[in-house]
Structures are given as structure tokens and as C-alpha cells.
């Protein structure tokens, strides 16, 4: 910036902008919590935990139950990280559930039918997800078909292809394939630790690295992003490839954990992942949301699920509750937008 500009502009008086009025400290705290999505979620999580501890002291406040909640959050967490990155850039992926099932089946077929080494099969499962993501991303960026339609179509196609490859799944996976999803470390199963690594790496990437900050610019205004030198299509493609990879990871790990690659794996997970991300502060308009938000959103969803199970609420209610939570989260988001 040239310093010579200074003297020229010194004459113009800086226009003053109106400052917001001051509130009482309590009102400020309440506002802060209402606006700051992670804080709001932490508050809700704490309240829910206190309520459950008082209401179900026999079932809720135990290490086994906590481990179950965290294991449930593991799969959701891995998927929601990918979904959050996509939502930040203004798109989403509805095919993640089918990608999970397909990746698990591929890994199962490779390890059981081809007799390949377990690690190779595990990688094959993950890369299957990457490939699906690349196909999604290519269709969306190259052929300009929107993400909703492309991934909805892919959802149907992959579920069918999975059945084509292994009509009834791949049961009884060999012992060597099981450690990926069944190893216990410090009292928690391996998927949780994998999820933790994914969340931490993504948190760092999305908040600090130049490459991942590009998603925020793209979601906020793709035209302006391109005019700022960002390769919008390429970065979007990478976003879908990442989502696919994470779905592949989640699917392969699920197959390993169950010792069984199931055709119906991952049905409905896209609903939960999108709900968790929106809860965590993502907006369907793009440009907003954080990884800690996504993680807390997932934790919240898992805790709700746990609550319903402990309270012996019939299974179909879980689906209803997830849908209602999604609508509420979007409603809160809209309300916040219109108030600003």
C-alpha cells in the first residue's frame, strides 16, 4: 500500500458509524450464548446431561454408557466433518450413506473373496469412497448439474451397485480385518480415536490453513472467490473427494467393527450428518460453520439418541426426533438471520 495516499485523504472526515447500545452483563452473556453456536451447544449438552443424570441415575452416568455415546458419535463425527466442509462451500452430499455401504462391501469382497491382506482391503474401501467423491465432484463442477440432484442420484445408484456386487453383503469377515474397528484403546473403541484425529486435523485445517479457508470464500460468494484467484471448481472437487474419502473410511470401519459388510449400512446417515452440521452453525447458503460446531452437533445428536434409548422410546421416534431437530436448527438459523 502506498503511503503517498495518506496526505490526499487526510482531509476527508471519517464518517462515524452508530455503535450498538450497551446491555446489562447478564443480557450480554445470554446474547453471546445465543449467537455463539458452539457455546449454545455446550450449554444444551450440559443441561441434557444434568437432566439425564437426575432422571436416570441407574442407566445414564456410567462409563459404559459414555463409551457407547462416543462410539455412536464416532461414525457421525467422521461424516459430519466432511459434510461441514461441503456446507461451508455451499453444497452438500446426500450419497454418503450409500457410499459407506458400498465401500464396506468393496473392502469385504477384497479381503474375503480375493483373500487380499486386511490393510490393503481397508485402503481399498477408503479409496472407493474417494473415487465416488471424485465422480460426484466431477459431475457437479464439469457438467454443472447441481449437488442435490447429483448426489441424490448417486445415493440410489450406489445402493444398487453394492447389491449387484454382493447381493446379501459380505458376512463373517476374517479375523485380520477386525482390529480396525474393534481395538480398544483407553477404554474406547478405535472408531472414536479415528474420529478424534479427523476432527482435530480438520479443525486446524479449516481454521488456519490457506487451502481450507478457500471453502469459506467459495461458499460466501463463488464469483468473488474466482475473481480473487481461487480455483472454485478444483477446490469444490477436492471437497467432494474428501467427503467421499471420509464416507469410505466410516463405511470400512463399520464393516470392520461389525465383522460384516451390510447392504443397508448407513441408511439415513446423511440426514443425521446434515442435521449435526446445521446445528453446529452451518448454513445452507454457505460460508458459515466451524468444525468444533460440527463436533458438538454430532455429540448432541448422539446424546439425544442415547436419551431416547434409555427412556425406552420406540425406535421410529428417533427418526422423527432427528427430523424435528433439523427443522428447529434451520428455524433458529433463519430467526438469527432476520434479526441481524
Amino acid at each position: 500500500m502506498s503511503d503517498t495516499l495518506k496526505p490526499i485523504l487526510e482531509k476527508s472526515p471519517a464518517h462515524s458509524e452508530k455503535q450498538p447500545q450497551k446491555d446489562s452483563p447478564f443480557k450480554r452473556l445470554a446474547k453471546r450464548i445465543a449467537w455463539d453456536r458452539p457455546l449454545l451447544l455446550i450449554a444444551l449438552l450440559v443441561l441434557l446431561c444434568i437432566f439425564m443424570t437426575l432422571r436416570y441415575p441407574e442407566a445414564f452416568p456410567h462409563w459404559d454408557n459414555a463409551a457407547a455415546v462416543l462410539l455412536d458419535a464416532a461414525q457421525g463425527g467422521i461424516l459430519t466433518v466432511g459434510m461441514m466442509i461441503l456446507l461451508v462451500s455451499g453444497v452438500f452430499d446426500l450419497s454418503v450413506g450409500s457410499t459407506m455401504a458400498f465401500s464396506g462391501i468393496v473392502a469385504g469382497v477384497v479381503v474375503k473373496d480375493f483373500g487380499a491382506p486386511p490393510l490393503l482391503a481397508f485402503l481399498a474401501g477408503i479409496l472407493t469412497g474417494t473415487l465416488v467423491g471424485l465422480i460426484n465432484g466431477t459431475i457437479i463442477t464439469r457438467f454443472r448439474i447441481n449437488a442435490l440432484i447429483t448426489t441424490l442420484a448417486m445415493q440410489g445408484i450406489l445402493r444398487g451397485v453394492a447389491q449387484l456386487v454382493a447381493p446379501s453383503g459380505v458376512a463373517n469377515l476374517p479375523q485380520g480385518f477386525r482390529p480396525f474397528g474393534q481395538t480398544m484403546i483407553m477404554g474406547l473403541q478405535s472408531p472414536f480415536w479415528v474420529m478424534l484425529v479427523v476432527v482435530l486435523v480438520a479443525f486446524y485445517a479449516m481454521s488456519r490453513t490457506r487451502y481450507f479457508r478457500q471453502f469459506y470464500y467459495i461458499g460466501s460468494n463463488p464469483r468473488a472467490a474466482s475473481l480473487s484467484g481461487i480455483k472454485v471448481d478444483k477446490v469444490t472437487l477436492v471437497g467432494f473427494a474428501l467427503m467421499g474419502t471420509l464416507a469410505g473410511l466410516a463405511g470400512t470401519m463399520l464393516a470392520s467393527r461389525l465383522s460384516n459388510a451390510v447392504i443397508l449400512a448407513g441408511v439415513g446417515v446423511e440426514l443425521r450428518a446434515i442435521t449435526a452440521a446445521i446445528l453446529g452453525g452451518a448454513s445452507l447458503l454457505g460460508g458459515a460453520g466451524t468444525i468444533p460446531g460440527a463436533f458438538l452437533g454430532v455429540l448432541f445428536m448422539s446424546l439425544i439418541q442415547n436419551t431416547l434409548i434409555i427412556a425406552r422410546v420406540p425406535v421410529f421416534w428417533q427418526s422423527i426426533v432427528v427430523g424435528v431437530v433439523l427443522l428447529l436448527a434451520i428455524g433458529i438459523d433463519q430467526l438469527g438471520r432476520s434479526k441481524r
Partner: protein, 520 residues
């Protein structure tokens, strides 16, 4: 324009005894934390075109919204023809004969012109069905009256901005209008289209319509209006007869300080190296363009809307595929496939539409400035928040961006400050070439003076500037050299010393007869 002057004279000055068509008396209106209008009084007489000028935030829009029934005043009265007028909503205002044509179109693009004009009040047959035939006929008459050759069944989406503007006016006229309010009507029109609009306004005034003309462009105000009211910070600072005032006086009333839009006497040296050289460039719809820009030179691209100026800029910046011809930067060929290629050669571009293509509206000033400066604010791919903040703060300081802090989202800034944020983004890259498309569109007069000063300083520092502007006084004030485009071709150059509006217009007007999508 001799023709319009005559028309003004024909509409002889209203006698002082006439009851004003619209009278606003001592109106005050506050919004939480801000007094938008403070004891404002204002009158328009039937048959008069009354201009309303003032900076952004001066209260013009609030006043117009009160007249149009959108807001109700906290204090004060309005009257029409001496009778009290207190519309509780827009519908009541419409019934009283008040029509407002907004800056941003309020049209339904997929629907036809006639459906737009009769939106919500379509004529019906005795069976209760919409009477499309009658709708078409009335629309046809209205459009003929405005001398617009548009078929009433054309979807509005297919019309040019100027045609849409005229449809909005036709919509107003279809409702027996007595008071017509136009808010920045020419912001998307070319000069000839604006002239056509002025002609129509004069004709409407002759029929006794009172017209309130809100505009930033003083040149137009002097061309179209008989009287002018100036607002500053919610107060009226002056009412003047156009024939008895000067632009300088109006600017002084608007901003309360002296601003000069005279040409910069400092000229670039004639032997400065050519930084940007475009030869025989073909980029549909640009058919043939050749331009040279020297270091330290401001070259303005003048021409009508649709002449291909914006498209030419986009091609240089890598947004449009180039069919043939060459772009050279300091003698090195540039064939950009993406803006990043142009940026790596030292080119920056502030686009025409800052909200759609320039800014990340929901993001902070800091993030907006950092967007094209990732190299400067990161090490090995990791962003340093400190560097981002330092960069943004230095832009805010040097360019005098009025904001409480650099975390403020740019959607809350005024147009002028938004434009400065965009300039800051590019200046931080220290560009050799800066392309600025419509540098001051929708920007108030104070910010305009700042933006001119910034662009001139850049030129002084050796930056080659290519500026597109549809505002002729702006072209004349800024340019060292003017390149005129017409129908996709660069048709000539005028040295700023010999340039005037007539010369530019003569060169810019297409020679091949009827222009596509034109008005006539």
C-alpha cells in the same frame, strides 16, 4: 441539451400562489439509535420535476418511503393538493396517486410485461377470468406512450435494464399517477437511454404530474429538474432553482465541505513504458479491440452499455476465453485461463457489480481484503491471523474506510466504503495494472472524491489503470486518455485535453443503424 432546455422553458415556473401538489411539513422520523429525518419540510408543485440530492444516509430514501406510505412519520404532516395525506400503507399511497419506481427492480422476471404491469390487479372478464386481451391492449398503449417498442407479452427477464426501468414507469403510469417518485433511475442506463427517460419525464410533467427525482448524479439533476432540495444528515440544507445554482454550491450543501471534481493537472510522462498492450483481441461479444496503457496512465473505456467494455476487461482478467489476438504485460504474452494467471502477472480487477462479483458480503473487512492476498498472510500454507489483521488495518487506515473495526462484515458498510475495501484488496498486492469497472456506481459524492483521489495517486505511483465508466463527467474527470468502444470494437481514442461529451457520444454511437435491444 438545447432541446430539453426549451422544454423546461415551456413549462413556465409555477406561480407562488399555487397550492403544492405534495407538501411535507416538519416531518421527523427516528429509527432505533438514529434520527433519519429531522424536521424536514419539502414541496413539489404539479408539473414540476423536483430533484432530491444528498449523500447516502442523508435521509432521501426514508423521506421517499414516507411519501410512498412504507413508513409513517413520528411527527409532521403531509398533504396532497392541500388535503391531509396520511397513508397507512403502500396501497393507500397508490390510491392517492403516489407511485414510486425503486432503484432495485420490483419486477417478476419470468412473467410478461403486461402481467408485471398489472401484478395483483389484473382486469377480469365477467366470468372472473383474467382478461389477457385487455391487459395487452392497455399495456400496448402505455408502452407506445413511452415510445418503447416492447411487445407486452415479452417476459421481463429478456429485457435490458433500461427497458425494465421503463416497464416500472409504465406500471406507475397505469395507476393514474399524480406524484411520481424515481429513485436513482439512471444508475443502470446509458447516456442515450437516460436522455430518452428525461424526455418522457418532461412530457409527464407537462401533463401535470409532480415528479420527485432522487439522484446522485448532479449532471442529470441540472439537465432534468427545475428545482432541487438538498438533504444532509436528515435535514434540509437548501432548496434552489436549478437556473440559479451551480454544481459546486449543491456539493457544498450536500457534504458541508468543498470537493473538487476538476481534472488532475498532473499528467503521465509520454515516454513511460507501455505496461498493458492489447492487440486485435477477439472475445465474443468483443469483435476487435486494441489498447495500450502506459505506466502511470489512466485510460478510460467509454461507450454504451453493450459495447463490450466489461467483457473486454473480463477477458484480460481470465474470465472469458480468448478467441484470437494478444495481451502483453510489459512485453510478455499473457493468455489467462483463470484470474490467478492475470494476478500473477500483476493485474488486479475491481468488478462492475461489487455485491455480486466483488465482495464476500457476510464476511469481515479483514477476510475480504485477505481473499486475494493469501501469499502475503500465510507461511507454508498456514494463515497468520496477525498478518491478516495488519494488512486489513493498513488498508482501513490508508484508504480511510469508515468502520468501527476490521471485523465488521462488509454488508454493513456504505457503497463507498465497500468499494474502498475492494480497492484495498488489490492495492495490497501492489499491482502493475489495475482494471476498475464502474469505480463509483452507487457511491455518494464524498466517497466519490476519495475514490478519484485514490485512483489518481495510484497513477502517480506508476500503476497503469484501465477504467470503465458509463458516467461521462467521470470519464472526463479521471482519464488521461479515452478509448471509445462501440458494438464490440475499439473505434477510436481521444486525448483527455480535447475530449468533451459530444465527441465521446458521437464516437460511441453505433454506425450500423438500429441497435439490438435498443429503445426505439
Amino acid at each position: 441539451m438545447p432541446e430539453t432546455r426549451e422544454q423546461i422553458n415551456r413549462v413556465s415556473g409555477p406561480s407562488p400562489t399555487t397550492i403544492p401538489r405534495l407538501s411535507v411539513k416538519n416531518v421527523t422520523k427516528s429509527f432505533p439509535g438514529v434520527v433519519a429525518l429531522d424536521d424536514v419540510s419539502f414541496e413539489v408543485i404539479a408539473g414540476e420535476i423536483h430533484a432530491m440530492v444528498g449523500e447516502n444516509g442523508a435521509g432521501k430514501s426514508t423521506l421517499m418511503h414516507i411519501i410512498a406510505g412504507v413508513y409513517q412519520p413520528d411527527q409532521g404532516q403531509l398533504s396532497i393538493d392541500g388535503k391531509p395525506y396520511a397513508p397507512e400503507d403502500e396501497k393507500a399511497a397508490q390510491q392517492a396517486g403516489v407511485a414510486i419506481v425503486f432503484q432495485e427492480g420490483s419486477l417478476f422476471p419470468p412473467l410478461s410485461v403486461s402481467e408485471n404491469i398489472f401484478a395483483g390487479r389484473q382486469p377480469v372478464t365477467s366470468l372472473g377470468a383474467v382478461d389477457f386481451g385487455r391487459m395487452r391492449d392497455i399495456t400496448k398503449d402505455l408502452l407506445q406512450d413511452l415510445e418503447v417498442g416492447i411487445d407486452p407479452s415479452t417476459p421481463v427477464a429478456l429485457l435490458s435494464p433500461s427497458q425494465r426501468q421503463l416497464v416500472e414507469i409504465a406500471k406507475a403510469l397505469s395507476q393514474k399517477v399524480q406524484i411520481l417518485i424515481l429513485d436513482e433511475p439512471t444508475s443502470s442506463l446509458t447516456i442515450s437511454e437516460a436522455r430518452h427517460l428525461f424526455k418522457i419525464l418532461h412530457r409527464l410533467a407537462e401533463r401535470g404530474v409532480a415528479i420527485i427525482y432522487v439522484s446522485h448524479r448532479l449532471g442529470e439533476v441540472f439537465e432534468v429538474a427545475q428545482r432541487v432540495t438538498v438533504l444532509k444528515d436528515g435535514k434540509v440544507t437548501g432548496v434552489r432553482e436549478i437556473s440559479k445554482t451551480t454544481p459546486d454550491e449543491l456539493i457544498h450543501l450536500e457534504v458541508g465541505r468543498e470537493l473538487s471534481f476538476a481534472r488532475d493537472p498532473r499528467l503521465p510522462s509520454s515516454d513511460a513504458p507501455v505496461v498493458l498492450e492489447i492487440e486485435d483481441l477477439v472475445v465474443p461479444p468483443v469483435k476487435h479491440a486494441s489498447i495500450k496503457v502506459r505506466a502511470g496512465e489512466i485510460v478510460c473505456l467509454a461507450g454504451l452499455v453493450g459495447a463490450g467494455r466489461t467483457e473486454l476487461c473480463e477477458a484480460i482478467f481470465g474470465i472469458r476465453p480468448i478467441l484470437s489476438g494478444s495481451i502483453k504485460v510489459n512485453g510478455v504474452h499473457l493468455l489467462p485461463n483463470h484470474p490467478i494467471d492475470a494476478m500473477n502477472m500483476g493485474i488486479g480487477m475491481v468488478p462492475e457489480d461489487r455485491r455480486d462479483a466483488g465482495l464476500f458480503l457476510a464476511m469481515s473487512i479483514a477476510a475480504n481484503i485477505a481473499s486475494a492476498n493469501m501469499d502475503a498472510v500465510s507461511q507454508r500454507g498456514v494463515i497468520s491471523k496477525r498478518d491478516v489483521d495488519r494488512l486489513a488495518q493498513s488498508s482501513v487506515d490508508t484508504l480511510h474506510i469508515a468502520t468501527p473495526d476490521i471485523e465488521r462484515e462488509v454488508m454493513f458498510l456504505s457503497g463507498g466504503n465497500q468499494q474502498k475495501v475492494l480497492l484495498g484488496r488489490w492495492l495490497a498486492r501492489k499491482p502493475k495494472i489495475l482494471i476498475v469497472d464502474e469505480p463509483t456506481r452507487g457511491v455518494d459524492v464524498g466517497a466519490k472524491a476519495d475514490l478519484y483521489a485514490i485512483l489518481r495517486e495510484l497513477a502517480q505511483n506508476g500503476v497503469a489503470l484501465l477504467v470503465v465508466s458509463s458516467d461521462l463527467p467521470e470519464v472526463l474527470a479521471l482519464a488521461h486518455r479515452i478509448v471509445v468502444m462501440s458494438e464490440g470494437r475499439t473505434v477510436g481514442e481521444i486525448d483527455a485535453n480535447d475530449a468533451d461529451e459530444v465527441k465521446i457520444l458521437q464516437m460511441a454511437t453505433p454506425k450500423s443503424g438500429v441497435r439490438e435491444g435498443g429503445l426505439e
